[in-house]
């Protein structure tokens, strides 16, 4: 109750999606803004290139014919954005050019200039070797491997390793983050109540176990509410933005192309061309890949494992909160409790690449690691018995842990100013 009303909750609920949406929108929007018309002067001493630069809606190329010094001065005087100087070389094809600019040009001018130069140089080289560019284009092949999963009934399902990988990793990490975030909130709540001493008054009205469960369930519901609101708001903002800016989608594609090109071209890679001309097949493939994953199953298991994992860890965190006097003292107890979660994250790379390996199977069945590991495996397909076993174990462990945590909690919350050791905690559990 009080948590929902807190200002921070309201702020985070509203701010969260704005931040997430901003992460998507801002770079795209900013790039749209900066893509005003740019004017680039071309000083081509070789005379081979100046007519190859095609102006488009973003960059206008103007060939100039003077010497370099005059051109430089002219650049400053004209206020144009940049000057490309292609010096004459002894070889018949130049490989370097200099880009003079009045301000930071940004990657796009450089990329466009380079691409233009490269194409022309390649064409010249081909010409020199008497190779028809047509032939070269016809030789270029892009290989697409469609992976198909055959299930027990012999039904063929198109599968996409990449999509499963991304989905598995994403859901695993989200579940890890959520469990950690909300469980810590429970812990902080318990510490706050204990530090306040209000707990002494409250336990005269309700049982400590009820108080603990109330806190866990309360924070859980707040968390779910916040999470759902985030998703709704984020979707709404992005959707709204798309309507407000019809060019948005187009820009997204452009940016994706751009970002895909940028690092590679800065690494002076030559083989980028194939990737730039994105095969439409990749999109359809990705789409089919998503279809091949059982989305309702993923969502359902996500909710089950999130709840199970959250209840398990929040009970443990509540017990930790009850055992200590302030947050600084939580470390010694936090570590052993969080190690299983950390292990799953450390091993996530392995699990995601070998989802059917023994280690991955075990990790996804052991209750303390299962929420994260199982979510990583689910998109790849998990045998039903493993799934059920894992859920049963998770629920059983959560019940046992809550029971133990309740005992620690009951004794811990009323004990002040004492440094608690593991021995004390074990003693508390054995108290009737």
């Amino acid at each position: 109750m009080t948590r929902v009303k807190k200002k921070t909750f309201v702020i985070m609920t509203i701010l969260g999606p704005i931040l997430i949406a901003a992460l998507w929108i801002v770079p795209i929007y900013v790039s749209t803004l900066s893509q005003g018309m740019k004017t680039v002067e071309i000083l081509d001493e070789t005379g081979l290139f100046f007519d190859q630069f095609q102006s488009d809606e973003h960059i206008r190329f103007i060939p100039i014919f003077t010497d370099l010094e005059t051109a430089k001065k002219g650049l400053i005087a004209s206020g144009d954005d940049a000057l490309v100087y292609i010096p004459r070389t002894e070889l018949n094809v130049p490989v370097t050019a200099i880009l003079y600019s009045t301000s930071q040009t940004g990657m796009d001018i450089k990329t466009v200039v380079r691409e233009n130069l490269r194409k022309q140089v390649e064409a010249l080289k081909l010409k020199a070797k008497n190779i028809d560019p047509e032939i070269l284009t016809s030789i270029k092949t892009s290989i697409i491997i469609n992976s198909i999963k055959i299930d027990k009934d012999g039904l063929e399902v198109k599968s996409s390793e990449e999509i499963s990988l991304a989905l598995g990793l994403l859901s695993g990490l989200i579940i890890y983050m959520l469990i950690f975030m909300f469980s810590s909130q429970v812990m902080r709540g318990v510490i706050e109540e204990k530090a306040n001493r209000i707990v002494e008054v409250i336990v005269t009205s309700i049982k400590p176990f009820q108080l603990m469960m109330g806190k866990i369930i309360g924070v859980g519901l707040v968390g779910i509410t916040q999470f759902v609101l985030w998703i709704v708001f984020t979707a709404a903002i992005i959707f709204g933005f798309q309507i407000a800016h019809p060019t948005f989608k187009q820009n997204v594609a452009q940016i994706e192309n751009f970002t895909a090109t940028a690092p590679a071209s800065s690494a002076q890679s030559i083989n980028m061309n194939e990737e730039i001309t994105m095969d439409p097949n990749v999109f359809t493939q990705a789409f089919e890949g998503i279809q091949s994953v059982n989305i309702p199953l993923v969502l359902l298991t996500f909710i089950i494992f999130f709840l199970g994992g959250y209840l398990l860890y929040s009970a443990l965190f509540a017990a930790i909160g009850a055992a200590v006097d302030n947050e600084a003292d939580t470390q010694q107890f936090m570590l052993p409790v969080t190690i299983p979660l950390l292990i799953t994250i450390i091993l996530s790379g392995f699990v995601i690449n070998n989802p059917q390996s023994q280690l991955a199977v075990w990790l996804s069945i052991i209750p303390f690691t299962s929420p994260v590991s199982m979510m990583m495996r689910i998109p790849f397909g998990v045998p039903v018995w493993q799934l059920i076993l894992s859920i049963i174990l998770l629920v059983a462990t959560f019940i046992i842990c809550t029971w133990i945590a309740g005992k620690i909690y009951r004794t811990g919350i009323l004990l002040y100013g004492k440094k608690i050791t593991w021995a004390d905690v074990i003693k508390w559990i054995s108290i009737k």
Binding site: M1, T2, K6, E192, E193, A195, N196, R197, I198, E200, V201, I202, V203, T204, S205, I206, K207, P208, L414, Y416, K427, I431, K432
Partner: protein, 312 residues
Amino acid sequence: MDLIRTEEISKRYGNFVALDHISISVPKGSIFGLLGPNGAGKTTFIRIINQIIAPDHGTVLFNGEALKPQHTDKIGYLPEERGLYKKMKAGEQAIYLARLKGVPQHEAVSRLKYWFKKFDIQNWWDKKVEELSKGMQQKIQFIITILHRPELLIFDEPFSGFDPINVDLVKNEILRLKDEGASIIFSTHNMESVEQLCDNIALIHQSKVVLSGRVNEIKSQFSQNLFEIESPQHDINSIIPLLPQGIHYKNTESNTSMYKHYFKLDTNLGHNDLLKSLLPYMPIVGFHELLPSMHDIFVSTIQNGSLSENQI
């Protein structure tokens, strides 16, 4: 009739015995002082009454019935270590806690308004607790403790942190609550307030009840038969040899125009014997027995207790 009656309750934590066969009765409509040095087991006892923890042995009767969860709504507890949610508004918080004790929302609001008005703190309603001073928070917490009109009130050091004016305010409220029929368990180290408020006491020391009963009875039990005679006559040396056996003159103190003469009597003599012996010889303006203060009783009991245990 007793509102609270504990029969032989014991509680141990591991090897440490916190309570050792404690039997206490709190009569209805009275103030009961729960006394004892730090670590004697008072808090454990209070927590058992509050059903925060259960005793290992023994029973607690509330109004003649065995203590059960429903009884918590009839108990108000002001712990020594007190606190409230700092970020919550004072009024909101009081209502929330009252509702936890089973008071309906509208009822809680109207009662709280009454109390805020009575304590003249209406403008605190919408203040966050952290904005209030410690004394103000104490006041709020006092109101919270009594808001659900409990039959039994447990106050653990209720006056700590209050200025003298507020001490009187709270003291009067406690007495008024008693007049309205509430029973009060009052735990404190302030012996002066015990004398002012308590009808009965129990002194717990090293997990056991070492002394219990009505305050005035305990006082006479500890009486040393010491009397003070107030008289304008200073010189009584001529009288002393005339006094019967068993009456011993102690000393004389003077203030302003009066003199105070102290006499100690043997146990077989009463105050009338002293008066009879003195009246023929001197004018008497004032007379009263010197009873030991609760402070003295507390100290001597605890020290004797420790001494006797050391001797064993």
